[in-house]
């Protein structure tokens, strides 16, 4: 599932429109790919952009700057940021435990890390709510200490943490595996403390991976819908995320408002794609520089 695999391939130097090849099927496969991609993805997205840009300038901004919309951005971005940060910390520890230590059940846990990828978001949503509601296994215990999770912004953070967790663990795991143990051995022999080894050797080499995982988890969290709407109370101004606001607008047949909000989210998705590529390119450059 690592979305960066293809981009790791070295680019061939400036190709002509098409380099000669022995193999047949260029026209057929490129044609079919381009046609199917356009029909299913590009044209529909184009319709959204046209609809949003066809709005009157003032109406467009009125939708985007509406207090209810602004409150939803604050929750969506704030909770996504919190969730990605929690994942950066715990995801690193989980990846560390899985890569460095042998313990009973390690393989099973390793396989289960991908569960949030495979589990339908609606199921994660109702299951988390059941666990964290005031009569739930964990929610009941937290209620003793006056902490409410379900139906509060905190619940949104928990749901987004679950959704983003595999992105972080699966990005950091291979990077931790590649940290050169020789360097750690050498540092230890030369008298470095454990903390120094962590700070000076391990963290610098996995930093690009942590940042990539952070951006991937953050990007996924911003668009998440299914798991959040069950655990958040969906209260306007308080626990309403932006994707839900789009659905609300659609249900009220305010297509233009929905399109404007959708367009804004689309732009943010593009920015995130760009950020992910930039972080990965930076990590690769660092990696290459370190090898020289």
């Amino acid at each position: 599932m690592a979305p960066d695999r293809a981009r790791r391939e070295p680019r061939t130097s400036a190709p002509r429109a098409r380099q000669p090849s022995l193999l047949p099927g260029f026209g057929l496969t490129v044609g079919f790919t381009a046609f199917f991609l356009s029909a299913v993805v590009l044209l529909p997205l184009g319709a959204l952009v046209l609809k949003a840009l066809g709005m009157h300038w003032h109406a467009f901004w009125a939708v985007l700057l509406d207090p209810r919309a602004v409150a939803s951005y604050r929750l969506t971005f704030g909770a996504s940021l919190c969730a990605a940060t929690i994942n950066a910390f715990f995801g690193f520890i989980v990846a560390w435990s899985l890569v460095r230590y042998e313990f009973p059940g390690r393989r099973l846990i390793d396989a289960l890390i991908d569960l949030p990828f495979a589990l339908p978001t609606a199921v994660s949503g109702i299951a988390l709510t059941a666990v964290l509601a005031e009569n739930g296994w964990i929610g009941g215990w937290l209620a003793h200490y006056g902490i409410k999770v379900a139906y509060t912004p905190l619940g949104v953070v928990v749901a987004l943490t679950l959704i983003g967790m595999p992105f972080m663990v699966r990005t950091v795991q291979p990077a931790l595996g590649e940290v050169e143990r020789d360097l750690e051995d050498a540092a230890e022999t030369l008298g470095a403390s454990r903390f120094q080894i962590l700070r000076r050797i391990i963290l610098p080499s996995v930093l690009p991976a942590v940042l990539t995982g952070f951006t991937l988890a953050f990007a996924r969290a911003i668009g998440e819908y299914g798991s959040v709407i069950f655990i958040s109370g969906n209260l306007p101004m308080h626990t309403e995320i932006t994707p839900l606001l789009i659905v609300v607008k659609l249900e009220q047949f305010e297509y233009a408002s929905a399109a404007a909000l959708g367009f804004a989210m689309l732009v943010i998705s593009f920015v995130m794609l760009f950020a992910i590529n930039a972080v990965q390119a930076w990590g690769r450059r660092r990696f290459v520089a370190a090898r020289r």
Binding site: F26, A118, V123, I126, L273
Partner: protein, 289 residues
């Protein structure tokens, strides 16, 4: 990766007891304990609660909720949707991977980015775009109504939205795999006089089959479990346009928790089965990395 790790002696050193416990036993068990606590709260408890809630009133009630008319209709709709979407996206994935891995052409990296696009977009937007196209007030809404064709709030809309969301899965698995395996064997087959199709079926397909299986099962899991995009285009008509995840939502909102978690348990089993197949594929295709 120079150094001892590649040598037999390095392997020996790495396996030496205590070597992995650098940082001491306390740190080791602290890290494992923190990991387990984090995963228990976030992953294992929700997983267990699905089955606990579904079976709360006994096996009889559980089975009754699953054989209820609307539940069966939802299961059928989910299966039909997956049966249309998965083969189409598999075909697309094979075609895209062949085009991208076998040829060098201008705009290739843009094509790769565009194929990834549905992963970056919120599921709600994946549904929204089709409402804007085919909804009553959409671009083609009036025309579709005049010709009595319904796409939104009907099967075609659900299929389209699911197709959008699961679009990159197979291609995403196959492209890097086929790039990595190279073209030498295909070129040899063609040079020896095999046709393009024969080369594809007899040379390429066997080489990439584990990656293909993995992509297809992931695509299938997402297709059956998609909620956001389908929710926008479905209209939630009970027994007619509700897929399994939407049926879960309806029952849950009606406080029929046993029913909701019973259907959810089927989806959970699907997810677990997907992970098992994934592990098997990784084990069988272990050499491909």
């Amino acid at each position: 990766m120079a150094g001892l790790r590649g040598t037999a002696f390095g392997e020996e050193l790495a396996r030496r007891p205590g070597h992995d416990a650098r940082g001491g036993t306390i740190i080791k068990w602290l890290a494992i304990g923190l990991s387990l606590a984090f995963l228990a709260a976030l992953l294992f408890a929700p997983l267990a609660v699905v089955f606990a809630q579904a079976l709360e009133k006994g096996l009889g009630t559980y089975l009754a909720s699953l054989t209820q008319e609307d539940a069966v209709a939802a299961i059928r709709l989910t299966l039909i949707t997956a049966a249309i979407v998965v083969p189409l996206n598999t075909l697309f994935g094979l075609s895209a991977a062949w085009a991208i891995a076998k040829f060098e052409f201008r705009g290739k990296s843009i094509l790769i980015t565009l194929i990834d696009l549905p992963f970056a977009v919120s599921p709600v937007i994946s549904g929204l775009v089709y409402v804007l196209l085919f909804g009553l007030q959409g671009w083609f809404g009036a025309w579709l109504q005049a010709h009595d064709i319904s796409i939104i709030f009907a099967l075609p809309g659900i299929v389209l939205a699911t197709m959008f969301v699961t679009f990159p899965y197979v291609a995403r698995e196959l492209i890097p795999l086929m790039q990595q395996l190279g073209n030498a064997e295909e070129e040899a087959a063609i040079t020896l006089g095999a046709s393009g199709w024969l080369t594809f079926f007899r040379v390429t397909l066997p080489k990439v089959r584990w990656g293909l299986i993995y992509g297809v099962i992931l695509c299938n899991a997402r297709a059956m479990g998609e909620f956001g995009a389908v929710s926008v285009v479905s209209g939630h008509i009970r027994g007619l346009t509700t897929t399994m995840p939407l049926h879960v939502e309806i029952l849950y909102n009606e406080y029929d928790f046993v029913g909701a978690f019973a259907v959810a348990s089927l989806l959970t089993l699907l997810a677990v089965a997907t992970l098992i197949v994934k592990s098997l594929v990784e084990w069988r295709g272990g050499g491909r990395q």
